[in-house]
Every structure is written in structure tokens, then in C-alpha cells.
């Protein structure tokens, strides 16, 4: 009875809604759709202060408003190209870099861009003369001694010859140059108020300026900057709207009204987008990896043989099955698209045949007397781009460990629990990943496999400090020739895998954005940052 009433009601409602949602949904606040692109992101923008945020939702907006001195070459992630700096030279001793800055550039608020303006921003992000409530990238600039400004010439002084790392860091959004007028005015405020002030008065040199930023709805509307040094952008308006729910976000893919860019499209929908008439997919191999961290200090994984066995046993093909064809096996800690990735590297006793590897691994386990040992694989409950289905992937890894005679189990934890677990070493195995912001190999090895003063770094999942590796890393960081760097980092990787065996790299994954086919010529680099200032609409 209740069912039949319900049924009738459903049919009535469904029938009257048969015309579809995609069409005009009425008169509430319609937006002019000519020369407009709506960018749908997973994360919300809330702070438009590049020096004081690390949130992905902010970064996407920040890239349209502000610019850095140099950028990652969109066609080759290993190269850098000019932006606000037209050229740069590294001194012979490697302890300073001189930048020639672009002339005739003005900020959105009318302030002129020069070396003094650049210095102010680069000082602020390192909390040099400024105090920030959060300075997430300050540690990355630890080797910077200071900046000297002279007209349109800026000199960066380094405390050790790590020019390449320093340059890569300058491509990060956090090194964006903010209007000096705004920064000077914010200087006297308390840190929270200063960040809010910079957000409210966001003024950079980028192709777009903030027209409206609705803090409540987290919707940002940007308009083309008439005075942009590279010519006024062709697309008039950008709207950034956060849609945290995955399936709601994908609904935009079929939206016939207007032009869209949809970020963080779930992997299972990529194929649909590729075959769609309206949308296209831009995908690239991201600078990331998913790996299994192995705690060399934990009772259950303390023997090198056990960790070596796990390295051999893990079935990457089975893990890849959870990525809908958007992952490839990876064998080194550094991201595969990077020049320093070692294609030939395999752990000792490697055999291309998985069954033979399992046999070797089983033998290693037996020798260590670890047969039937209870081992827990911890994993984060929240999916990440490199770990889309954590629970399933963890279980697949568990299957491999079971095959070599370990009594493995899996345990999901919330991120903050995992973070403190890692830094205190309370785990055997951990399924985790890493994504670089600057594209330098040091950004993988320093936090994930190194440490200082004889202690492992917070994110070093092996919980081991290895003096030899540490020395090698220090040396590698100072190399500037591409060939030498490749050799040096291969050496590091081999030492780590053989002597420490503190991780098992699993896969490198693709990332993608979907966008309307009518959007032409927008720029996206290998790290995944995109800009609209050169794009046009059809």
C-alpha cells in the first residue's frame, strides 16, 4: 500500500521532470555566459595569500592572479622558462643567482613591479621581516641567505651551492610576487589579519584580477587584466566554484551550457570524457608516486631480509588494476617523469617473472624466521590522487604478503593519526604517497629518505638515518649539470634500496583535467598548474 502510493508519487515527479536538468533552470541569478569559463574544483579557495597557504583550492586561483619570477616549462617539466624574470645567471661558485626582471610591469593596484617588490614577497614567504600565521614553504627556502634589489636586478644569495633546488623552488606558487603596497600595509597587522588583508586586496601581476570573492560560498570571480604585460587575456571572466562531491562534480561534464574546466575528475570517468562530444581530457603523468613505507625500526620488519622479501613480493600489476589504466609500475622513489628517475633499477634478486620473485621472497622470509608473522599495513582512509582506493589497494598488497607466508592485515587511519604514527614510528608498513611541488628530486629524497643530526625526517617512513645516504644527498643537491645529477641520484636510490630497504615504490599515476572543447590554448604544466591568460574561446 505505502509502496504503491510511493510509486505513484515518484512517477508523477519523475514524469514532470522529464524535460531534464541540463536546461535553463529558471531566473535565479543567471550569469552571462559569453566569454566565461567556470572552473570546478574539489577544494575550496579561502585564502588568496600565496605566502601563507598550501591548500589546492587556493593555489588554482593564485596561479591566475599572481606570477612567479620563473616557471616550469609547460612542454618539459625538467626545464624552467622566464616569467617575471627575463633571464638569470648562476654565479661560478654556485652561491648566488642574478635575475634580470621584466620592465614595464604593473600590479593590479597600480604599483610598479621591480626588484624591491620581488624582494619584499620573497622575504615575506621566508618570514624575513614579516610574521605569518602559517609559512608552509619556509623550510624549502632554508638555504637562502637573502635577496639584494637594485632597480630591475635581483640577486639571490645562497648559504650553500644548491642553485638548481633554489631555482625550482622559485617556480612554486608560494614564490608569487604580491603588490608591495599591499604587503607594506599588512606589515603592522597581526598575522591572521594580514593574511585576510592580502586576500581581500589581492593584487598580483597576473592575467586576471579578482572581481569578487564570496568568502561564504567560496566562489571567486576573476576578470581579465586590461594592463597585462603579455596582452589582455581573451577570455573575459573566470569563475572558480568548489564542488567537493565527486559525483556532483562529474555532472558538470555533461553540462551543455557554457565552458567548463573540471578538476579532479574521478578516474572511472576519464574514458567517458575522452569519448564525449563537448569535453576533452588533458592527462599527464604526474610528479608523484605511491609507495609502501617499511619501518626498519619496528619489531616485525626489522630484518633486512623481510623488507627485501616484501619489495620482491609486491605485485604492481595487481595494484594497478585499481587505477583504471591510469597508473604504471614505478621502481624508484623519485617521480617517473623526472630526468633523475632510474629506468633500469630493480632491487637485488629481481626477476621479471612474478612467480620466481615470490619464490625468492618466500625463501627470504623463511630464512628470517618470519613465517606466519603478523604484520599490519596502515593506510589513509581519505583517497589521494596517487591513492584513489586506499582500502582496496592495501588489501591487494596484503594478498601479496600473504602469498609469501606473512600474516598481513590492513588498518585504515585518519590522516592526522597517520602523521603522528609515522613521526613516532608506530607502524610496520604504511601505504602512502608523495607529490612534489617543485619537481626536484631533492623534494623526494630529503623528506622521505633522509634526515638530520642522526635522526630521520618526519616523513621518512624507514625511520632510519643513513649517514652514507645523507652525505650522498648533500653532494647531489649541489650538482648543477644534468648528467651528473642523474648519476648521483641513481647512486642514492641504489644505496637506499639495497642497504636501507625502507620503501617499495609501487606506481606512478596520471592526473587529468577535463575541459570544454571550445577552450583553446590554455597552458598547463607537468605539475598540473594551469593558466588562462593565453587561452581563447570558440
Amino acid at each position: 500500500m505505502s509502496r504503491s502510493i510511493a510509486l505513484l508519487l515518484v512517477l508523477a515527479v519523475a514524469a514532470c521532470g522529464g524535460d531534464g536538468d541540463g536546461e535553463n533552470t529558471g531566473g535565479i541569478g543567471r550569469v552571462d555566459s559569453t566569454s566565461l569559463v567556470t572552473i570546478v574544483t574539489a577544494d575550496q579557495p579561502s585564502v588568496l595569500d600565496p605566502h601563507s597557504t598550501s591548500n589546492g583550492g587556493d593555489v588554482k586561483v593564485i596561479h591566475q592572479i599572481y606570477e612567479t619570477l620563473i616557471r616550469v616549462d609547460p612542454s618539459d617539466v625538467n626545464r624552467m622558462v622566464p616569467a617575471l624574470a627575463t633571464q638569470w645567471t648562476v654565479a661560478d661558485d654556485g652561491l648566488s643567482i642574478q635575475f634580470q626582471l621584466r620592465e614595464g610591469v604593473t600590479f593590479h593596484d597600480g604599483a610598479a613591479f621591480d626588484a624591491a617588490a620581488a624582494k619584499l614577497s620573497l622575504d615575506r614567504l621566508r618570514e624575513d621581516g614579516f610574521e605569518l600565521s602559517r609559512a608552509p614553504y619556509k623550510p624549502e627556502f632554508g638555504d637562502v641567505a637573502g635577496f639584494d634589489a637594485d632597480g630591475h636586478t635581483l640577486t639571490m644569495r645562497l648559504s650553500s651551492p644548491v642553485a638548481r633546488v633554489a631555482l625550482r623552488n622559485l617556480t612554486m606558487f608560494c614564490a608569487s610576487i604580491v603588490s608591495p603596497t599591499v604587503l607594506e600595509a599588512s606589515k603592522s597587522m597581526d598575522p591572521d589579519a594580514a593574511t585576510a588583508f592580502v586576500t581581500d586586496n589581492a593584487a598580483g601581476t597576473g592575467g586576471y584580477r579578482v572581481d569578487a570573492f564570496d568568502q561564504k560560498a567560496k566562489i571567486a570571480r576573476l576578470v581579465a587584466n586590461d594592463d597585462y604585460w603579455n596582452g589582455k587575456p581573451s577570455i573575459g571572466t573566470l569563475i572558480f566554484t568548489p564542488v567537493s562531491d565527486e559525483s556532483t562534480r562529474t555532472e558538470y561534464l555533461g553540462n551543455p551550457n557554457g565552458h567548463f574546466l573540471v578538476d579532479d575528475v574521478p578516474r572511472q570517468h576519464w574514458a567517458t570524457v575522452e569519448s564525449s562530444e563537448r569535453m576533452q581530457l588533458h592527462s599527464w603523468w604526474a610528479l608523484n608516486l605511491c609507495y609502501l613505507g617499511m619501518n626498519a625500526k619496528h619489531e616485525a620488519t626489522k630484518e633486512l631480509g623481510v623488507r627485501r622479501a616484501i619489495q620482491l613480493a609486491v605485485d604492481r600489476e595487481a595494484v594497478m588494476a585499481h587505477y583504471e589504466g591510469t597508473a604504471r609500475p614505478t621502481y624508484s622513489l623519485v617521480a617517473q617523469p623526472m630526468a633523475e628517475y632510474d629506468r633500469g633499477l630493480r632491487v637485488p634478486d629481481w626477476d621479471d617473472d612474478h612467480a620466481k620473485r615470490l619464490a625468492t621472497a618466500t625463501k627470504l622470509i623463511d630464512e628470517a624466521g618470519a613465517k606466519g608473522r603478523e604484520i599490519t599495513i596502515y593506510y589513509p582512509q581519505m583517497p589521494r590522487p596517487y591513492l584513489p582506493r586506499p582500502q582496496n589497494i592495501a588489501d591487494t598488497v596484503r594478498q601479496s604478503l600473504k602469498a609469501i607466508g606473512l600474516d598481513a592485515r590492513i588498518q585504515g587511519e585518519e590522516n592526522s593519526v597517520l602523521f603522528s604514527q609515522v613521526s613516532t614510528g608506530q607502524y610496520e608498513l604504511i601505504l602512502i604517497g608523495w607529490m612534489t611541488d617543485n619537481g626536484d628530486p631533492d623534494n623526494f629524497y630529503s623528506p622521505l629518505a633522509d634526515g638530520a643530526d642522526g635522526k630521520p625526517a618526519e616523513n621518512n617512513t624507514s625511520r632510519t638515518f643513513h649517514a652514507d645516504v645523507h652525505a650522498k644527498l648533500l653532494a647531489a643537491r649541489q650538482l648543477s649539470s644534468a648528467g651528473e645529477r642523474v648519476t648521483a641520484y641513481r647512486d642514492v636510490e641504489r644505496a637506499l634500496q639495497t642497504d636501507v630497504a625502507g620503501y617499495t615504490p609501487l606506481v606512478n599515476t596520471k592526473q587529468a583535467v577535463a575541459y570544454s572543447k571550445g577552450i583553446k590554448g590554455f597552458v598547463i604544466d607537468g605539475i598540473g598548474h594551469y593558466r588562462f591568460d593565453e587561452a581563447t574561446l570558440e
Binding site: 585499481h322 582512509q381 582500502q391 582496496n392 588489501d395 591487494t396 594478498q399 592485515r409 585504515g412
Partner: protein, 280 residues
């Protein structure tokens, strides 16, 4: 014994819904006990992922390559066990509180019953969620949380029974003979208040299964692969829809049928055992 069989026969004959309930519950119990013996696979045998349904895998395989039928059958065992443990927890804890409260009376009674009132005036499922958040998302903790949340209902019922039975003549007699309160409680009061507790226990099995499954659905159930529990199996399928729609359908149906069985049975028992509604 024959008195019991007579009673059972009459009960099932007059309570058709209870008969249906008994059959359903017996079927699930039978599956749980005998099923694993009959099956040819173990729950953690790995095959190809998302294999079609067919003679090799009657219900196909899941996203991890496990045989779904095997996991469902083992799931009957774990699901019933989990529900039984957490319901027993509610029962023991609730009975203890209720008995103490009813027997002690006065301030103890007032304090305990206020506590029960407060606990019951708040959505139990939400409480269980918060409890699991505190304890950590593991199945053991889910059992504890569901057990705790179910306790107040038993407490209230047992207290009422103690008050009812406690004033009965044989109890007064026992106390006047100098038996201590705990002895009176266990020897005289408890046995005479059994029937409403049996009813609540039967209904409690159903709600425990639903609560455990609900928590699993919210991702608070822990490792879904080592312990095949129906709620976890369902959730696993839900995360992989539409590829695993069959898995969701089957696991949900199993939960529904089992809970319905317990509810029908409990409802029939209530009618039968409650002197006020007993069939004339």
C-alpha cells in the same frame, strides 16, 4: 521438554508471522553453521577481479577477486556472531544496571535511571558513531559501541521487571528468610523476568545487525576483507558501483531477510509472552 514442544507447536501454529521469522532465522543459522563446510573456496582465495556469475562463481567475484558467495556464507557466520556478541553486551550491561537500579531503589535508582533517560533521549546511532570515532574504526570497537548503545533499553525493561516481580510474594518470602539481595536477584527475580528479556534480545539481534552494517557503511567498520561481515561486503560493493551492483543487492537482501526474521520472531514472542496481549 514435551511441555516446551507443545508450547512451541501451538505458538508457531497460531503466530504465522513468527513461523516465517523462525524459518528465516533458522535458515541463516544453518547457512552459518553448515555453509562453510559445503563450500569449495576459502573467503580469502583470490581469483580474477569482477568475474562474471557462472558455475565457477555463482555470484561472481568482487573488486579484490574474492568469491562473493563464499564471502556471503562466511559472512552469515561473522554477522550473526558480531550481532550476538554486541547484543549480549547490551543485555548483560543493561540487566546489571536495571537490576541494581530496581533493587536498590532510592537515590541509586534515580541516578541510574536519569542516566538511562539521557542516553535514550539521544539518537543511538549517532552515539555509536561518536563512540567508534573515539575508539578507532575497528570491528571490535564497532561491536562495543553498538553494545553500549543498546544497553539502556534492557536496563529500563529489567528495572520494570524487577519492580514487578520484586513485589511478588515469593520474593518477599525469600528476603524475609534472610537471603541477601544478590542471591534473591539471581535465584528469584531474574528467572521470573526472563520472557520480556528474551523478546528484547530477539529484537535486539535485528537492530544490532542493522547498526553494525550502518556503521560499516559509513566507513567505520575496519578491515572489510579479513572479516567478511555483510555490512562491510555491502559497503565494499557500494564503493565499486556500478561494477558491483550485484554485491550490494545480495548483501543488502541478506541483512534484510535476517533482520526481518528476528523482528517477526521477536514480535510473535512478545504477543505470546506478554500476559496482556496473550491470545485468548
Amino acid at each position: 521438554m514435551s511441555r516446551f514442544t507443545d508450547w512451541l507447536w501451538r505458538f508457531l501454529r497460531y503466530h504465522r508471522p513468527a513461523l516465517v521469522g523462525t524459518v528465516l532465522v533458522m535458515a541463516v543459522v544453518l547457512t552459518a553453521v553448515v555453509g562453510p563446510v559445503v563450500l569449495s573456496y576459502e573467503p580469502d582465495d583470490v581469483f580474477s577481479r569482477f568475474a562474471e556469475t557462472g558455475s565457477k562463481h555463482l555470484l561472481g567475484t568482487d573488486s579484490q577477486g574474492y568469491d562473493l558467495l563464499t564471502r556471503m556464507v562466511y559472512g552469515a557466520r561473522t554477522t550473526l556472531a558480531i550481532a550476538l556478541v554486541s547484543m549480549s553486551m547490551s543485555l548483560c550491561l543493561g540487566s546489571l544496571i536495571g537490576a541494581v537500579s530496581g533493587f536498590a531503589g532510592g537515590k541509586t535508582d534515580l541516578l541510574l535511571m536519569r542516566g538511562v533517560d539521557i542516553a535514550m533521549s539521544f539518537p543511538g546511532f549517532l552515539l555509536a558513531m561518536v563512540a567508534v570515532a573515539i575508539l578507532g574504526p575497528k570491528l571490535e570497537n564497532v561491536i562495543v559501541a553498538v553494545g553500549l548503545v543498546g544497553a539502556p533499553m534492557f536496563a529500563r525493561q529489567v528495572r520494570a521487571e524487577v519492580l514487578r516481580v520484586g513485589s511478588a510474594e515469593y520474593v518477599t518470602a525469600a528476603r524475609s528468610q534472610g537471603f541477601g539481595p544478590s542471591r534473591t536477584l539471581f535465584l528469584h527475580v531474574m528467572p521470573n523476568s526472563l520472557s520480556p528479556i528474551i523478546v528484547l534480545g530477539t529484537l535486539g539481534m535485528g537492530s544490532a545487525i542493522l547498526d553494525v552494517a550502518g556503521l560499516a557503511f559509513l566507513g567505520l567498520g575496519g578491515d572489510p576483507y579479513r572479516i567478511p561481515e555483510w555490512g562491510l561486503i555491502l559497503t565494499q560493493g557500494w564503493d565499486q558501483r556500478p561494477d558491483a551492483n550485484l554485491q550490494v543487492a545480495v548483501a543488502g537482501l541478506a541483512i534484510f531477510v535476517t533482520v526481518l526474521g528476528f523482528n517477526l520472531l521477536g514480535d510473535g514472542l512478545k504477543d505470546e509472552l506478554d500476559p496482556r496481549t496473550r491470545r485468548r
